[in-house]
Symmetry: none
Subunit: 213 residues, 4 copies
């Protein structure tokens, strides 16, 4: 059947994202993408139309992957176990997702082209941060019901959790330009969770930040 066709399409999209990530949309040339995918230039056009379409699809595919990773990262956020430890673990995993090279590339490309291609926002955030935010809000809501968190608007709390987590990392990683050590990720997660729990933690947990370091 057209199994091969789909595979090739996937290969081209992967190659495209790789090159777009490395060069940016305008600097990237289709020839290079084709070379990266190991096909001839017209094959790219046959499969994905013009450069614009190639870009959109590559972005969508990358966003899908990034979302899947992030969603899987917050699956550990059940009501069971120590709240602080769980949040730190989830935070750490999220930072690893969002701090990955491809995730940063996705975000940079999004910022770079959002003005020219406004739909890109939904393409990426609809499948990425927002869907992630909603999923996280759901988890936090259940945690609140279970007494693990002080009651609050779960959407706001989710947004703020993500902001506390990723915001300070932007500077640390120089916008994803510099690799961030594992320890720094951990520290970042802990700092975010500290503050988050001071604001939203259960009364009982107040004043007991994670013990060591």
């Amino acid at each position: 059947m057209s199994r091969g066709r789909i595979d090739k399409r996937r290969a081209i999209l992967d190659a495209a994202f790789t090159v777009f990530a490395r060069e940016g949309y305008h600097q990237a040339c289709v020839k290079e993408i084709a070379a990266e995918a190991g096909v001839a230039k017209p094959t790219v056009y046959n499969h994905l139309g013009d450069k614009e379409g190639l870009f959109r699809e590559a972005m969508a595919a990358a966003a899908d992957r990034a979302l899947a990773e992030s969603l899987s990262a917050i699956e550990a956020l059940t009501g069971e176990g120590d709240v602080r430890a769980t949040l730190e673990d989830v935070g750490h995993r999220l930072l690893r997702c969002q701090g990955g090279e491809r995730a940063w590339a996705l975000r940079r490309l999004l910022y770079a082209e959002i003005h020219r291609v406004p739909e890109l926002f939904d393409t990426v955030h609809g499948r990425g941060a927002n869907r992630l935010g909603e999923a996280l809000a759901n988890r936090l809501a259940r945690l609140s019901l279970g007494g693990g968190l002080r009651a609050a608007d779960p959407d706001v709390a989710a947004g703020q959790f993500l902001a506390l987590l990723t915001g300070p990392m932007e500077t640390r990683s120089r916008l994803g330009t510099r690799p961030v050590a594992e320890a720094e990720l951990r520290a970042g997660a802990r700092a975010a969770v500290d503050t988050f729990l001071r604001a939203f933690g259960p009364v009982s947990a107040e004043g007991q930040p994670s013990g060591d370091r």
Copy 2:
């Protein structure tokens, strides 16, 4: 003397940033910048070298301006007056700075070209967010000493305050693509300050979010 020369240079840089902001670095063409500045193309080259230099200088100038605005926004953050009201006011002013069209353009351009021009990070953040972060940290430290805030690492607190402030706004403004109503800015500032004070507010202020609305 060279007064006119400097003026023309300034005019070209302004025009350049306007066009870069509108089109992005690669899409922007020197011809258009020259037209926007009201001069001929070679004049641009005489004054600022090549397109690359033009971009760097334009970014630096725009970053300087943005920093000045933000610094002036946090000047209200003295120890005097109600902490919550002051923070909300400052937060609101900051959001107006950072949410302005040129500020978003600056950020988008930074994201877009950071990979190709790494120095851009310092050019912008050295004069922008970081210097802002430090200044904010200083203010917060003095607030802590004055008892207006619970003791904490001022750098961390400053970073988190900015994150709580701007993070959730990214989605709301669709990365600066959509104008955000004044009321939304106020609400955003309040939400950030609420959480910030729950985490870092003085014990006395605990549990007393801004009364109305």
Copy 3:
């Protein structure tokens, strides 16, 4: 048997001429021809070699058809009946042939590609205007012998008759770009025959143009 093969070949040639007529040789793309014929691209190549051959064959087929129409149009030119009326009728029929959409397309394509493909002249005129000219000359010769026309070189007379007929129509139809009303065709035929008979008509017919209108 190969009945189906021939049919498909014919279908492809028809489609080819249609597309060539619409787009011109260079603008027409094989893909479109294949689509018009309802087959896949390689099928076209299997049946007719490359684009060049496709073009030649399509032109030849179209020329054959056009010739057949024109030849049938002059069949009415027997010695019987009124000379003027007969000539006008034949002239009118010829104008309808030569003024048809496909005939104009044929001529335009001939003009367009004659320089690149000189044989095209014989392909088209050998089967078209020239063979038509000869046939017409034969008819006129018999008319002369029968006294219906003043004696003259039949080849010259035939050529001039066709020239008087079609020449002025070129401007009227804007080179086949504009449809010409039936009445205009009639008037054109009458004007041509008027002059033709003034020059070649029998002495008896002198000065008696077609009576009405």
Copy 4:
């Protein structure tokens, strides 16, 4: 001043027509035109926009030239001198104009692209055959008044004169593909004038075709 600019524009247009005449519109590539003009490709674009505009302007310029030649050819058509001799001379000159290489190229290009660029008809005929037809009609009208011709609609007579002149030549020159000997041109002009005068000549001239050869 911009004298040089105009000169270069003229040079480019000349080169363009030369190449278009040689290759046809679609086969001609801008690179070759630029080479023929001795400039770089972008210079062509600076002066004349895209290929389409280049074509239109080149056609208009060529048509202007062709018209000037033809108009000058019929200037000899005054009432003085022998009618037959004068007409033959004018006819011969016209055939030399219309049978020239550039004139044929102009016509072929016109036929080739008329469907895609309908305005071309006016561009060429408005300045060419039609304006020529009108001018010729004027001359013939004065000839009629002077008794040199039998009275007739001058527009019709002019059109038919041109048709008798050029129509039979199309086949002889294989659509301008083959050079036509001077003697053939003379013979063509004589044949046309013979018939024309038989139809429109003064009664006195009837039956006295040009004596020798």
